[in-house]
């Protein structure tokens, strides 16, 4: 223990903050996990494989995956354009990238309903062509894409900014076209940050509620995601069912965070 840690004031500070952390964070986690498994493993499995719960989980993972694939491409492209090209209003765009971080999720949901809802102009036009966005799965993916928009961009941008262009230029002199250069020289340098960004957005998307609940229409076995299922079960008093699905989501998010942490530490903390 360090000298600072052994001082009485240091001890006081440490015990006070660790107590706060334990009560506020550790205790809720522990209680939830304990109570989810308290009725036994069979009960846990039954609650998990309940068709409504199972479908909600599948939908959540599927929409998150779809969003992640799109975001990986668009996020990298956006970071590329922001760093490498000069465009009018770049500072404006750069500042607005973080808008989804600042906007409350309910407001996001409302924005999408206003724009694509069945009573809106755009929604009516799309509806005539058979493209229903709101109250359908595309709406969920759209909401997820909005709220996770900054993750990949902000992950890739610093790496691009710091990158040494010498190798790219060497490849160009050796005759490689822009695509080949990107694929063989740039991408290997970028992919850890792309991975970090997509992992963060995936983790966020698993738990997204505020924007999805307004946009998805709450139809069980159709458009009800896992967070919505959890909420529904809490409202109807089935706390155990809610806890079981919660544990699965938590385990997934935590696994992603832990893997990310390990990868970052392996790279010496560079992200």
């Amino acid at each position: 223990m360090s000298h600072a840690a052994r001082r009485p004031s240091g001890l006081l500070l440490r015990s006070a903050t660790l107590s706060y952390l334990s009560v506020m964070v550790v205790l809720p986690f522990l209680i939830l996990t304990i109570q989810a498994f308290q009725p036994g493993l069979t009960a846990f499995w039954k609650a998990l494989t309940n068709p409504f719960a199972w479908h909600a989980l599948k939908l959540t993972f599927a929409t998150a995956l779809a969003m992640v694939v799109i975001n990986a491409v668009t996020g990298t492209a956006t970071a590329w354009v922001l760093v490498r090209y000069a465009i009018p209003g770049k500072a404006f765009v750069n500042a607005l990238i973080d808008l989804p971080f600042a906007v409350p999720t309910v407001v996001t949901g409302l924005m999408l309903v206003v724009l694509y809802g069945p009573t809106s102009a755009l929604g009516a036009i799309l509806g005539q062509h058979g493209l229903r966005v709101i109250y359908e799965t595309p709406g969920i993916v759209l909401a997820l894409m909005f709220v996770t928009y900054p993750f990949v961009i902000r992950s890739v941008q610093p790496v691009l900014l710091e990158m040494d262009r010498a190798e790219e230029e060497a490849a160009a002199t050796l005759g490689a076209g822009p695509f080949t250069t990107f694929r063989r020289v740039t991408l290997p340098i970028l992919w850890p940050s792309i991975l970090t960004g997509t992992a963060l957005s995936f983790s966020r998307a698993l738990g997204e509620f505020g924007s999805v609940v307004l946009v998805a229409g709450n139809r069980p076995l159709a458009t009800k995601t896992a967070p919505m299922y959890i909420f529904g079960e809490v409202e109807s008093g089935n706390l155990h069912g809610a806890m079981v699905v919660s544990t699965v989501l938590l385990a997934s998010s935590l696994a992603i965070l832990i893997v990310l942490n390990l990868l970052q530490r392996r790279r010496g903390g560079a992200s």
């Binding site: 600072a4 000069a86 409350p104 738990g207 997204e208 505020g210 959890i230 935590l254």
Partner: protein
């Protein structure tokens, strides 16, 4: 470097600055258009659509909806909860950052990891945790109820919800700046006779102020927008335990969205201002880090 003799002396010598405009070539132009179009479609258009909808009736009706009683009360509740949560978690954040950076003890890495846990939790799950712990049949809730203290379905539960989701921000933003700041100046202050508290106020705090400010801004923005956990924990009774976000949700779900549009615009406007502040502070922190490295 051997490579440098082989590279063409291309137009930019400073590698980290962007190219001069290459929009004469179709490739970059196409990509830029695609990226900007995507940005506009995903981010700008919905924002504009909401603004148009909210101000559709004109400025007067907009102001009138905002001054309706339940809207006003919901904003008051939001601001009070946000203020309290920010104060508590800023104090905790500063204290814990000092503990994590300046003290060595068993389990420090574990404690460091624990702080990030709220980020991995969906808001509804956070609300569920609070119900399980503090609800009438919960482990702590049982005792509190018998002492006459109502936590869930009342404002203390909402406080706890906001405290939970905003817990990591100040810690995470202060720890790196504190780490970089180093103990040298603090030790100088001690040798010159400043007490621990005096040193903290006059030496440590000023040097971490931008990281601290950024963390506080993130905390406020997050707390203003908190919804899922509050929905689960609050019982959502109109006029009594409704925050701005709950009010908006209620308006949409009950098909009376007019007030919801106005409230959304106000909340989005406040968040937008927070965003500008965030961006400015983020650049300050980054600039400071860059300066310190030299």
């Amino acid at each position: 470097m051997v490579m440098s003799t082989l590279t063409l002396n291309t137009h930019d010598s400073a590698r980290s600055t962007p190219d001069r405009p290459r929009i004469s070539k179709w490739g970059p132009r196409l990509l830029t258009t695609a990226v900007l179009a995507w940005f506009a479609l995903l981010i700008l258009v919905p924002t504009i659509a909401l603004t148009r909808q909210g101000l559709a009736g004109g400025l007067r009706p907009f102001m009138d909806s905002l001054t309706a009683t339940d809207v006003r009360m919901s904003f008051v509740l939001t601001l009070v909860i946000t203020a309290l949560a920010t104060v508590v978690n800023t104090v905790f954040g500063l204290a814990f950052a000092v503990v994590l950076v300046r003290q060595k003890f068993h389990g420090r890495a574990l404690a460091d990891g624990m702080v990030d846990l709220p980020f991995a939790v969906s808001p509804v799950i956070a609300g569920l945790m609070l119900i399980v712990l503090y609800g009438p049949r919960g482990w702590l809730g049982r005792w509190l109820e018998s002492a006459g203290i109502r936590v869930v379905y009342a404002w203390p539960g909402m406080m706890l919800a906001c405290l939970f989701v905003t817990l990591p921000f100040v810690v995470r933003e202060v720890v790196p700046v504190l780490r970089e700041f180093g103990v040298d100046q603090e030790e100088v202050a001690y040798t010159l006779g400043a007490g621990r508290w005096g040193t903290f106020w006059r030496v440590t705090l000023p040097s971490i102020r931008w990281g601290l400010a950024y963390g506080v801004t993130l905390t406020v923005a997050r707390s203003l927008g908190e919804f899922g956990a509050l929905l689960v924990v609050s019982g959502n009774i109109i006029g009594r335990t409704q925050t701005a976000t709950l009010y908006i949700h209620d308006g949409v779900e009950s098909f009376h969205p007019e007030g919801a549009y106005a409230a959304s615009l106000l909340l989005a406007g406040i968040s937008f201002i927070m965003l500008i502040v965030m961006e400015t502070l983020r650049r300050r922190v980054a600039a400071r880090e860059g300066a310190d490295e030299q």
